[in-house]
């Protein structure tokens, strides 16, 4: 039991990533309400961001900002050791992903609002019922 707990805790970020991915996928497929589906999409996107940031993480590493002093005399006095810093490349990629995610959310919510104006409902089965009757 103790061993199993430490095994799970050692990779806790990745377990959380898998659980959040499945929660988002479940909400997108099973939920009947359009806004609930969009909430599931947001959870799905943030799960992928969590995966990428976890890949760049280093145990005992510091944040990827070079001190001013070190940068100025870097070549002569103390060399900058890249091993001490958390990998900033996934962070930069995920900055773009967060902004794209908010843009996707805005487009999806505006489409849901237009559907509500047209059909008077956000529930998928009611919309399908009205589509069938046309």
């Amino acid at each position: 039991m103790e061993q199993m707990l430490s095994f799970i805790a050692a990779k806790a970020n990745y377990w959380t990533y898998v659980i959040l991915l499945m929660v988002g996928l479940y909400a997108m497929i099973v939920k009947n309400n359009l806004v609930k589906k969009i909430v599931g999409m947001v959870i799905f996107q943030t799960a992928i961001i969590l995966f990428y940031v976890s890949m760049g993480y280093k145990q005992g590493g510091t944040i990827p900002i070079v001190m001013h002093d070190e940068a100025h005399h870097g070549a002569t006095s103390a060399a900058i050791k890249a091993i001490d810093y958390i990998n900033p490349l996934p962070h930069v990629l995920m900055l773009t992903a967060i902004v794209v995610g908010v843009a996707t959310l805005g487009v999806a919510l505006s489409l849901a609002m237009k559907i509500y104006q047209e059909y008077g409902s956000l529930e998928e089965d009611e919309i399908n019922e009205k589509l069938r009757n046309i």
């Binding site: 939920k31 009947n32 909430v39």
Partner: protein
Amino acid sequence: MIIPIDLIILVLIIVSAIAAITVPDLLSSAVILGAYSFLLCLLWTVMGAVDVAFTEATVGAGVSTVFCVAAIFHTSRRTKD
């Protein structure tokens, strides 16, 4: 036994994600999604990704909550699931 702060935040993230898709009111769902984004922002800060944390707090938690609340204000709060 000392529990590390990132494990506590990860558990809270899972709980709030499940709460956001099961709560039977869309406005509550939007607010819980905002709380979920702020918890993620805390997690990025713990993991040393401070730039991602800034962006998540302003864009992810702030703007997307406002979008959700505005969309729900223009449509309806009721939901069957």
